[in-house]
Symmetry: C2
Subunit: 458 residues, 2 copies
Amino acid sequence: MNKTVLAELRQTLGDGRVSTAPEDLAAYAYDGTWAEMRPDVVVHPQETAQVIAVLRIADAARVPVVPRGSATGLAGGAVPVEGSICLNLARMNRILEVSVPDTVAVVQPGVITQDLQRAAERLGFFYPPDPASVYQCTIGGNVATNAGGPRCLKYGVTGDYVLGLEVVLAGGHVLRLGGRTIKDVAGYDLKRLFIGSEGTLGVVTEITVRLIPKPAAQLTALAAFPRLADACAAVGNILQAGIVPLVTELMDQGTTRAIEDFKHLGLPTDVEALLLVAVDGDADLVQREIAVVADVLKRSGARDLRHARTAEESEALWEARRNVSPAIARLARNKLGEDIAVPRSRIPEMVARLGEIGRAHDLRIIVYGHIGDGNLHPTILCDRRDAAMMGRVAKAAESVLEAAVSLGGTLTGEHGIGIFKREHVPLGIDGNVLAWMAGVKALFDPNGIMNPGKKLPG
Amino acid sequence: MNKTVLAELRQTLGDGRVSTAPEDLAAYAYDGTWAEMRPDVVVHPQETAQVIAVLRIADAARVPVVPRGSATGLAGGAVPVEGSICLNLARMNRILEVSVPDTVAVVQPGVITQDLQRAAERLGFFYPPDPASVYQCTIGGNVATNAGGPRCLKYGVTGDYVLGLEVVLAGGHVLRLGGRTIKDVAGYDLKRLFIGSEGTLGVVTEITVRLIPKPAAQLTALAAFPRLADACAAVGNILQAGIVPLVTELMDQGTTRAIEDFKHLGLPTDVEALLLVAVDGDADLVQREIAVVADVLKRSGARDLRHARTAEESEALWEARRNVSPAIARLARNKLGEDIAVPRSRIPEMVARLGEIGRAHDLRIIVYGHIGDGNLHPTILCDRRDAAMMGRVAKAAESVLEAAVSLGGTLTGEHGIGIFKREHVPLGIDGNVLAWMAGVKALFDPNGIMNPGKKLPG
């Protein structure tokens, strides 16, 4: 990297916030994927003014900037690009305000999602978005990817809670968008452009989220379905019974067997699927609702129904779901975790296609997901040392995306495009639409310094 | 208008879908405001292909196009501009699909909002957005203004239900955005740019909305508050009790007196405010919740609490709220209905400012609104024949907007900018942000034919 740029960064931010030490460059070369690229420099701003300075200097010198929070992402979005500045926002981690009268919180992007959840809960409120990495991931990263999780059928995604954003654009221009009201129709909703843009349009430096009252109770049922299609239909049947479940987590037979081999929970491994259903809300109501859910599950074809009557019993049922990732990790040296979403009615067909794709490419694909919102995580087991296998994995992954799109779904429900799906974007988004997306990118980042080579196809 | 353009429109759409008859031009000159401008021609497309043709012809000839649904808007957004084509979407009024397994509906823009609500309810589902004009307004208009209503604290605004859009841009380019899944993070969220853009970026020709299960019951309480500030605090207290009310409608003393003079419902007219609170959901739960609400209202300073125990009793309480508009209409020859939103904690201060503004300009301002989401409708009583008074009305209206912004609020919560607030936009939106909004407009509508002179300042 140009020495002048480094000198300018050091002069503006101070030496302690700029590092080119090899151990730092190595530490910031990763995210939650197997991708790796060292940045030329890592900067650690602590306030918006410093982010502005970085984006001014970088834009003038045409140096790429890759923002990151905790880098738990699963699409390579926060992995540095060649010759880039890694903009580490983890030190901007203050909860600026939790307002009881306005039921909003104002936070910096580096706040860990669970810390916001806890700050809200201490005051009797609830911040529903709950991505799997909630203990490590940041709100800024959640906004950048419009993060989801298991609760989205009932409570929506991260973007549904964002009322206001402060964004710094390439060149250091600051936009304050939205505010702290649910209703605001002055101007265009630019805020939503930045939500889910994976750091390619600007850097979010402050976030105002709305909070809701904390539900009093939560109860869970775990059902074994001989036929996976029946588990999918059961979710629709629960909705038709007037209940919006908090979570509806599907685990296929491969997933269930992996958990059972790992944890010996006594799960039925001879069925096509397990379905974990939870409801939350008023304490009396959830007791009645979980009974209705149990009844609907039985009528929908469930066997071996476990119906928690206490919070402790619920915890025991969650044990299975919580062990999905470590259990799958034991099955193979590597895995490619996919993240498609399809209309709920098409899930059984999608799962059947996954079986066909696995057989066609001689690969094992297991699947679990948040089926209430149609979001499935097909996981292709593999070994990165086996080049021939990895060639088949790439083809199978493309077939998975093609299948999802052909069923009316999307390439990514919650992980994002990052670098891993970048070249597949035209499978899911029309060229006409992509041209306007490229126009938006050029408008907000005319020199193309913001996280280049991510999100949109090259 | 250029004869060639008219001939092209006639040739492409057919004579029955193109009118220049004076009675048609007069009929399409209005919306829900007092603004008036005749278009040069009215076209009545029945399918997307015809909208494409109109926007291709208009863009080539640089003729402005003003889309409209039922034109119930309160900001002048659907009032034609000089020399324009009025694009009447009312005949594109088919409900294309209500899918039970996917819990979505797919509709054309001219569908009346209540028709969609009823179609959903027939299948046990619920489409929550409920703008006051629900019997006349169209879904396309609701999307164009991101329409709100009284249920937004609990259920959000129109845009929160839109999963997918088909949009036709100037020049006839078609974008299909989003789909039928809650989760979709492929590409930028262009869909949200069009929601609330008031026809200035493109024309929405198909809408996919998500539905939710229909709540089983709804109950209501009406409370009289000697102090308006206590009514505002009561809403926060209800949330802190763990209940998200369906509606929280505030009526100030002026509004209450107008209703009482009109309908003689026996409302207390010696208090500063009435607050109507409703809860919805499970039938047993709403019984318990309305009791908690009643208790919170009393503890918050309510007097004369009427607490409905049946649906019929609830209906009687709604009688007051439903008569707000006709009751106010009797008070003066004309009225200017404002539509600000402020953070909930600032409502008492905002109401105090309205009193000061009214006194300063020798005008009567009454106020009602959806206070759970901070949305107030200050209404300035006036007589358009009195030029001096109307000068004071204009100044007072500007002061209302300034006050809302100074309290952290917005110029418009749900009505939109249209033509009426266009020149006031810089009060509420920073020049830097406006410049990027203008950039977005130029990107999607380079020749500026889409509803020019609306939404953004000139």
